[in-house]
């Protein structure tokens, strides 16, 4: 610009406009240039496709190994046992059981003793049953007290090593000292299988139960419920706080230094390593506020702090994208600023806000580090009864099982990852469905 002005100011110094001949589009240089350009575009497209293929194959490999290792985690091997519910062995008085309040007596009977007695029919393989197989006997009798004094055929879980043998998880051609399972156990398994006493079926205990020291009894249900409680707390805190903060920052905050500082802080907060939030939760919610340790309540609040910046940033972008003409239109017929926000801006921004919330919640669902610090890595053998009860969460369960030395937890780890992934996909699908529904309404 300035050179042009100088040139115009001083005509004598102005360079004369050089006349060019007509452009020769057919010249070899020009043709080569065009060919080079097309080649470049083609190569770039191929590069993009290659990147996509590599990314897709990583994902496919990951999914393949998890499904291969985890599939059998949803199955459990059980042995057939003919049980005689002998009142004498159980140590209860049949008359007292039939009397009112007898069910309580029945619940306290000696089922481990009954199991020992029943296991004798397995011969040398009598110690192949799971330590907790007596629970099946109790459940059967409590469900139908009339069984007392009669016989029934029950399927009870077997030990993890027998379970893994039945699923073909050991390489039996390897030498005995390196294959991880003893000759005795192999012989017991062969015997049970020969007698037709083994079956492998769907493992409901895995889906519904809580953690256990025994792989054949461990379940993911407790952790799943813990995750659900935690996420409910997280959403209930982070969504309204995040959206209201975004509304205030976008619609009402006076522009200036303070707004800049707040904006900078929020952007930085979104990048803070999650473990820091765990330390905050430990220091404040546990030590100062005295909230219950290991509980979904504290976990949820901590994760809410972590994902709130993500929601604020996404909501601000969504609110900013609502055309100002809509605000003008509403203000112009006498809507108050709050009415403009709630009648027009938020409904129009909702799909975008929900996208941000999905991203945040998905991150919270997969988060482990901050929860380690507030005690959610506790070994919890009960399904949590509420938000203040001790609980663990799905990724934490994956972490705990992957750390366990017992061979049986390998497949449980992968199975838990599958459950985590399925829940994630379900949640995202629900959110996308909701988002599309809201989008269509407008």
């Amino acid at each position: 610009m300035s050179t042009v002005l100088t040139a115009m100011a001083d005509d004598a110094a102005a360079p004369a406009i050089t006349e060019r001949g007509p452009t020769d589009w057919a010249s070899p240089e020009m043709q080569a240039r065009i060919a080079r350009r097309y080649r470049g575009e083609r190569n770039f497209r191929r590069l993009g496709l290659l990147a996509l293929v590599i990314a897709a194959s990583f994902l496919a490999f990951l999914l393949f190994t998890i499904v291969r290792d985890g599939w059998s985690g949803f199955q459990r091997s059980e042995a057939r046992l003919d049980v005689t519910f002998d009142a004498a062995v159980l140590g209860v008085d049949p008359a007292a059981v039939r009397a009112p309040g007898g069910a309580a007596l029945l619940a306290r009977a000696d089922y481990p003793g009954l199991l020992l007695k029943a296991a004798e029919q397995l011969g040398p393989a009598e110690d192949t049953l799971s330590d907790a197989a007596w629970l099946e006997l109790r459940d059967a009798l409590l469900a139908d007290p009339a069984l007392l004094g009669t016989s029934a055929t029950l399927w009870v879980p077997v030990r993890s090593s027998i379970d893994l043998l039945a699923k073909g998880k050991y390489d039996l051609t390897a030498p005995a000292d390196s294959r991880g399972v003893s000759d005795e156990e192999v012989a017991d398994w062969r015997r049970l299988a020969r007698e037709g006493r083994l079956r492998t079926g769907f493992n409901t205990a895995f889906l519904l139960g809580a953690d256990s020291t025994e792989p054949e009894l461990a379940g993911i249900g407790g952790a799943a419920l813990g995750s659900l409680f935690t996420l409910l707390i997280t959403i209930a805190i982070a969504f309204p706080l995040g959206v209201l903060s975004a509304v205030w920052l976008e619609e009402f905050a006076p522009r200036g230094r303070l707004a800049d500082i707040i904006e900078l802080s929020i952007n930085n907060l979104a990048a803070v390593p999650s473990i820091i939030f765990g330390l905050l939760g430990l220091a404040f919610f546990l030590n100062i506020a005295g909230l219950p340790r290991s509980s979904p309540l504290v976990g949820g609040i901590t994760l809410a702090l972590m994902i709130m910046p993500v929601i604020v940033i996404a909501a601000r972008v969504a609110i900013k994208a609502v055309p100002p003409s809509i605000r003008d239109a509403a203000l112009g017929i006498g809507a108050s600023p709050i009415q403009v926000v709630f009648h027009h801006v938020l409904p129009l921004a909702l799909p975008g806000i929900m996208t941000g919330t999905i991203i945040g919640v998905a991150r919270a669902l997969g988060e482990t580090a901050p929860l380690l610090l507030i005690g959610m890595r506790a070994f919890v053998t009960d399904v949590p009864q509420g938000v203040a009860a001790p609980a663990t969460v799905l990724p934490m369960q994956v972490f705990l099982w992957s750390d366990d030395v017992q061979r049986g937890f390998v497949e449980k780890t992968s199975a838990a990852i599958l459950v985590l992934l399925v829940i994630l996909v379900l949640m995202n699908s629900l959110a996308i469905y909701l988002r599309n529904r809201f989008e269509r309404r407008w």
Partner: protein, 270 residues
């Protein structure tokens, strides 16, 4: 504040009318931060005719229009000095309710901006905000009369639940006018309402403005001098933030007092 006209102020004395003016502005200055956008403007707007604001781009006519219903409040850096009164009541007074003011002084914008809702909801939104309808039937009647007055009823009566944004530009702008008149305002401000429309849609809006004249005080900002000549009875010429000349439209276009007005009208600049 004083509602007595202050004749002979620096730029353009207010012109008297046979009846009380609907809106009066006295010595209005508007600043955006340090920059002064409006300089000492005094003007009266009467409810029995259409007033046009003309002038080159950036002359402040839209800024001044937005002062008349305090739409400039939404701009943090904007500052208004002087007095603007509606029926003798200072609209910048602290006790003035902006929400009510904007119901009484409606606005139609440059770009048609219907809400992304149904046609019915677009028109019903204002009356619902201000509680003007007591029943569903009441609301139906308000919506119908607003759409009829905006000349849109026959085109949309069978598809009131379709989206307002799915209509043509001209229809959208008439819907915006219907939305403005549904709250029964006293003044309608139009900020270049036809600049985004084709000539046929423009002609319909101009007809509509003519039909609405007398019922509402109408102020229209326009770039198009023919349009000002066609639809208005009073014309104000703004230049560089000042009101240069304000008179009957016929006088402005045939016998302007100021050379600047004459130069603009004849296309010397603009």
């Amino acid at each position: 504040m004083s509602i007595n006209p202050a004749p002979g102020t620096a730029s353009g004395p207010a012109i008297g009318h046979n009846q009380e003016p609907k809106m009066t502005a006295r010595r209005v200055n508007v600043f955006y931060g340090q920059k002064q956008a409006i300089k000492d403007v005094s003007i009266d707007v009467s409810s029995d005719h259409v007033t046009a604001f003309i002038g080159p781009s950036g002359c402040g006519k839209s800024t001044f229009l937005r002062c008349l219903n305090r739409m400039n409040d939404t701009i943090d850096s904007a500052r208004v000095e002087g007095t603007i009164a509606l029926d003798g009541q200072d609209i910048y007074a602290p006790q003035m309710d902006v929400v009510q003011l904007r119901a009484r002084v409606g606005m139609v914008f440059q770009k048609p901006n219907p809400f992304p809702k149904s046609i019915y909801e677009n028109v019903a939104y204002g009356p619902r905000l201000h509680g003007l309808a007591r029943s569903k039937a009441d609301m139906d009647a308000i919506v119908e009369s607003a759409l009829r007055r905006a000349g849109l009823w026959d085109e949309v009566k069978d598809r009131l639940d379709e989206s307002g944004t799915a209509m043509s530009g001209g229809q959208q702008q008439r819907l915006c006018i219907a939305r403005a008149i549904a709250v029964d305002p006293e003044v309608i401000l139009m900020d270049e309402p036809c600049s985004a429309l084709d000539p046929i849609a423009t002609a319909r809006i101009e007809e509509l403005i003519d039909e609405l004249r007398g019922r509402y005080a109408i102020v229209i900002v326009t770039h198009n001098m023919q349009q000002a000549a066609r639809v208005s009875q009073k014309t104000a010429f703004f230049h560089l933030g000042s009101l240069v000349e304000y008179d009957d439209t016929s006088t402005i276009f045939t016998n302007p007092r100021e050379t600047r007005t004459k130069d603009y009208i004849t296309g010397r600049y603009g």
